[in-house]
C-alpha cells in the first residue's frame, strides 16, 4: 500500500464523515462533491482509471446538481405555500 493510496483512503474517510455531519442540504451537496473527488483519487491510485473517470463526472457534477435542483424546487414550493397561507386570513376580514 503506497503513501498515495493510504492518503486517499484517509481523505475518503474524512470527507465521508463530513458529508454525514453536515446538516444543511446545500452544503451537503457541495460536501458530496468533495467526497466524490476524494473517491476519484482513491480509484485512480488503486489502478482503476475508468471507474475514476465515471466517478468524477457523476459525483462532482450530476449528484450536486440534482440535489440542488430538488432543494430549490422544494423551497420554492414552501415559499408559495407560506405566501398563500399569509394571504388567506386577509380575505376573511
Amino acid at each position: 500500500m503506497s503513501v498515495l493510496q493510504a492518503v486517499a483512503l484517509m481523505l475518503v474517510a474524512i470527507t465521508g464523515t463530513l458529508v454525514a455531519l453536515t446538516r444543511e442540504p446545500v452544503r451537503q451537496a457541495i460536501q458530496a462533491g468533495f467526497f466524490g473527488l476524494a473517491l476519484t483519487i482513491l480509484f485512480f491510485s488503486f489502478q482503476a482509471p475508468d471507474v475514476a473517470l465515471s466517478q468524477l463526472v457523476v459525483s462532482t457534477v450530476a449528484i450536486p446538481v440534482m440535489i440542488l435542483l430538488a432543494v430549490a424546487k422544494v423551497r420554492e414550493h414552501e415559499r408559495r405555500e407560506r405566501r398563500r397561507g399569509a394571504r388567506e386570513p386577509e380575505r376573511d376580514r
Partner: protein
C-alpha cells in the same frame, strides 16, 4: 426512544461491525493478486485477439457486450422514468415566457457566462476524445458520455440556456439517447448477421495503437457515448425545467 439509547445501540452495533469487517478484510488477498483464470485469460487475449490496448473496454464492449447492452438500457429506463415523472401535469404550468423570465430571473453575470463559454467547448472536446480513444486508453463509451453530459450541465450552470430563452428540454438529448441505444443493438445485430453470433466482432481488427482498431469496439463506444450523454443531459434538463420553471396554477 431517547437519544442516549439510540447512541448506545449505535455504539454496540458499530463495534460489532468493525470487528466483523476487520476479520473479513484481514482474509483478503493482496492488492493486485490474480486468482481468476478468466480474468487472466481476458487480459492476455485483449491485444492479440482484438488489437486494442484497453482490456477493460474490450471486456465491456466485446467479450461481455451483452452486459453492456443491458446496462445502457438501465440508463435509458431511468431517463424515461424521469421524463414521465416530471412532465407538466394538470394543475401546473410552465413559466417560460419572456415576461416571467425577465422579471423573475435577471441575466446571469458576465463572469459566469464567460467561464461557461470557456469551459463548455473544452469539456465537449474532452468528452469526444475519451469516447474515441476508448479502446486505446482508459475511458470508453460510458466515461466519455458522462463527460459530454457534464458539458451540457455546465451549459445550464453558466446560465447560457436562460440567456437563450430556450428552456424546454433540448431535442438533441432525446434523439442522441435513442440513436445511441438503437445503434448499439443494431451493431450486435450486424454481428449476428455477419458472424452468426450476436455482438460478434466482425470488422477488421486494425493495427494496435491506431484510432481505428478493435473492430466494432469504436462503433459500440460511439453508440454508448451518445446514449449516456443523451440520457444524462435529458435528466439534467428535465430537473432544471421542473425546478425553475414549472409552477402550480
Amino acid at each position: 426512544m431517547s437519544a442516549r439509547l439510540r447512541l448506545s445501540i449505535f455504539a454496540v452495533s458499530a463495534v460489532a461491525l468493525a470487528l466483523v469487517l476487520a476479520y473479513g478484510l484481514a482474509g483478503l488477498q493482496q492488492f493486485g493478486h490474480v486468482d481468476s483464470a478468466y480474468g487472466a485469460l481476458l487480459a492476455r487475449l485483449a491485444v492479440p485477439a482484438r488489437h486494442a490496448t484497453n482490456a477493460v473496454v474490450v471486456t465491456a464492449f466485446d467479450f461481455r457486450g451483452l452486459d453492456t447492452l443491458v446496462e445502457e438500457l438501465i440508463l435509458l429506463t431511468a431517463a424515461i422514468g424521469v421524463v414521465a415523472l416530471l412532465r407538466i401535469q394538470r394543475g401546473e404550468h410552465s413559466e417560460d415566457d419572456e415576461a416571467h423570465q425577465r422579471r423573475a430571473r435577471p441575466d446571469p453575470s458576465e463572469t459566469l457566462r464567460v467561464a461557461g463559454a470557456a469551459l463548455v467547448p473544452a469539456t465537449f472536446v474532452l468528452g469526444v476524445y475519451v469516447v474515441a480513444h476508448g479502446q486505446l486508453s482508459p475511458g470508453g463509451g460510458f466515461q466519455g458520455g458522462a463527460v459530454l453530459a457534464a458539458a451540457v450541465v455546465l451549459l445550464y450552470a453558466s446560465g447560457q440556456r436562460f440567456a437563450l430563452r430556450a428552456t424546454r428540454p433540448p431535442p438533441f438529448a432525446e434523439r442522441a439517447e435513442a440513436i445511441g441505444s438503437l445503434g448499439f443493438a443494431l451493431i450486435g445485430l450486424g454481428g449476428l448477421i455477419a458472424g452468426g453470433v450476436y455482438l460478434r466482432n466482425v470488422l477488421g481488427q486494425g493495427t494496435v495503437g491506431e484510432l481505428i482498431s478493435g473492430g466494432t469496439i469504436p462503433l459500440s463506444n460511439a453508440a454508448v457515448g451518445l446514449e449516456v450523454a443523451g440520457a444524462l443531459a435529458l435528466i439534467a434538463a428535465e430537473l432544471v425545467d421542473q425546478a425553475l420553471f414549472v409552477r402550480e396554477d
